[in-house]
């Protein structure tokens, strides 16, 4: 019974609380910079403001441009069903669902990239090229990390990989899991267009990656894209936090509370990384992502030993 309630609660938190993570990141960055910062609920206000606006579509765009934000949001929502996010089990679990999770995230990216290319703007094409390049380098790190988890926990579904199987594995293969967690955290920074890779607050088209792709979207479309971005951050946070928490507490409700606390901590960690690190030069980004892959591969080698 409690498992069913918690299962509903984890989806509710996924849908409702994910913009809050962005609020926490913004607040931490402002505080470290010595400013008061926007209110924690600012991302919600932004979404509400954008949703009230009208939309303008360029005449050169086709249905592909309009489908982009919708497909992107739908894919991320579907991916959210596959990951365990605090509750004892994910909403859907089957052998090999981690591959579908990665595929759905890739689909979301594909839709955004197509919409960006559809505008015919050279800036957006440039951003799309960068986004695709970097995510192609981030994916091996993610998959090698999943592979390490499969190897160490012996399961094939995310509920086992990031839940039941971990408690014992942290005792036997702790260092390897630590490497995987670190690698997935770097992937999370890259995939969510956070600072060492991409600056979400930049206003210079030449240096943007993700932001430049959505320049032509406005109003409700932009709200959908930003909401999907928040959901994706929550999703990646869930991967990292579930992996880091490891052992299950005796009480599932306490487990869920620990997960929410972990998500808040994840947001604070991102805020601190963004406050202390400068953005990497574009030519150096592949090095960071290959470094993350190397960490995952290293963990895998340690587990295969």
């Amino acid at each position: 019974m409690t498992a069913a309630i918690l299962g509903a609660l984890q989806l509710l938190a996924f849908l409702a609380a994910s913009p809050l993570l962005l609020g926490i990141v913004g607040r931490v960055k402002a505080r470290v910079g010595g400013r008061e910062g926007p209110p924690l609920l600012q991302p919600y206000f932004d979404l509400a403001r954008l949703a009230r606006k009208g939309t303008v579509y360029s005449t050169t765009t086709t249905w592909v441009f309009r489908a982009g934000p919708v497909v992107g949001l739908a894919a991320v929502l579907a991916a959210g069903l596959l990951a365990p996010m605090g509750a004892p089990a994910a909403t859907l679990a089957f052998a090999g669902d981690f591959a579908l999770l990665a595929a759905l995230l890739a689909l979301a990216r594909f839709a955004t990239v197509l919409a960006a290319l559809d505008t015919g703007s050279s800036f957006e094409g440039m951003g799309a090229a960068r986004e695709v390049t970097f995510s192609a380098l981030a994916e091996p790190a993610l998959f090698l990390g999943f592979l390490s988890l499969v190897r160490s926990t012996g399961g094939l579904d995310l509920t086992h990989l990031l839940g039941d199987g971990l408690a014992e594995t942290w005792h036997t293969d702790g260092p390897a899991l630590l490497l995987v967690a670190l690698s997935i955290f770097v992937v999370a920074l890259a995939e969510n267009a956070r600072l060492p890779v991409d600056d979400p607050a930049t206003h210079l088209e030449l240096t943007m990656i993700h932001e430049v792709m959505v320049l032509d979207h406005g109003g409700p479309d932009l709200a959908l894209i930003q909401y999907a971005g928040a959901l994706k951050l929550w999703l990646f946070g869930a991967l990292v936090v579930q992996l880091a928490l490891g052992a299950r507490l005796a009480d599932p409700a306490a487990d869920f509370a620990a997960f929410l606390g972990g998500q808040a901590f994840f947001a604070v960690a991102i805020g601190l990384v963004e406050s202390t690190m400068a953005r990497l030069r574009l030519v150096r980004v592949p090095q960071l992502l290959v470094g993350a892959s190397v960490l995952s591969a290293f963990a895998l080698v340690l587990l295969l030993r």
């Binding site: 005792h171 702790g174 490497l179 090095q287 290959v290 290293f298 080698v301 340690l302 030993r305």
Partner: protein, 215 residues
């Protein structure tokens, strides 16, 4: 407990890879210093109850002073004085060396399972760490253009030799302690570096000329 020792070895290897990937000499020096401190912890962590405490303490203290503090400090001084702050164009790029280093480490872990060791019963990650670190150091020496980067590579290689030396620390403790002194060679390298820079700037090694820099 074994988990923590594992972590020590893995951190040493991760620092190798970090040194291979970092283009800033300052960051590389910091990584080598951290590696030195970790190496100083290793003899203590590996010592069972039976081994002699005095030798373990000497080894740990020697490593901490020479590898953790002394050489990094000398290197940092050398970079400060020679105005070289980053490796600009290595002979082989940062990414290829990183991948090569990772392959080397993976191969080291792979092969040592079948390696006959003179001293059985040692930690399974000890030899892979040693070989991987030596390999990373070798890569650094071969690929870097700047003299400081090469000295960094030599220090990393030396760290690998030190880890391998721990294998024998029970049988020949004195020999391993002398091995730590091999680091003095690196110190000489660093001094040579500084001298080279002085020579280039003033076309002479006469330090009297440095006095003329006043005002």
């Amino acid at each position: 407990m074994t988990g923590w020792i594992d972590l020590l070895f893995i951190l040493v290897l991760v620092l190798d890879l970090f040194a291979l990937a970092s283009s800033r000499l300052r960051a590389g020096i910091r990584a080598v210093a951290a590696q030195g401190v970790l190496l100083a912890l290793l003899p203590v962590a590996l010592a069972g109850g039976a081994t002699e405490t005095r030798h373990v303490a000497t080894l740990a203290l020697g490593a901490l002073v020479v590898k953790g503090v002394g050489i990094p400090w000398l290197l940092a001084r050398a970079t400060r004085e020679s105005t070289v702050s980053r490796e600009t164009a290595p002979l082989v790029g940062f990414l290829p060396t990183l991948v090569l280093g990772a392959f080397g480490v993976a191969a080291a872990i792979w092969f040592t399972a079948d390696l006959p060791l003179p001293v059985p019963g040692k930690h399974p990650l000890l030899v892979p760490t040693a070989l991987g670190t030596v390999w990373s150091g070798l890569l650094l020496i071969v690929t870097r253009r700047k003299a400081v980067g090469q000295v960094l590579g030599f220090v990393v290689l030396e760290n690998g030799v030190f880890v391998l030396g721990l294998l024998l620390s029970d049988i020949m403790p004195a020999l391993v302690e002398v091995g730590v002194l091999l680091d003095l060679l690196a110190a000489v390298f660093v001094m040579g570096l500084v001298m080279f820079d002085i020579q280039r700037a003033f076309a002479s090694l006469d330090t009297e000329k440095l006095a003329s820099l006043k005002d």
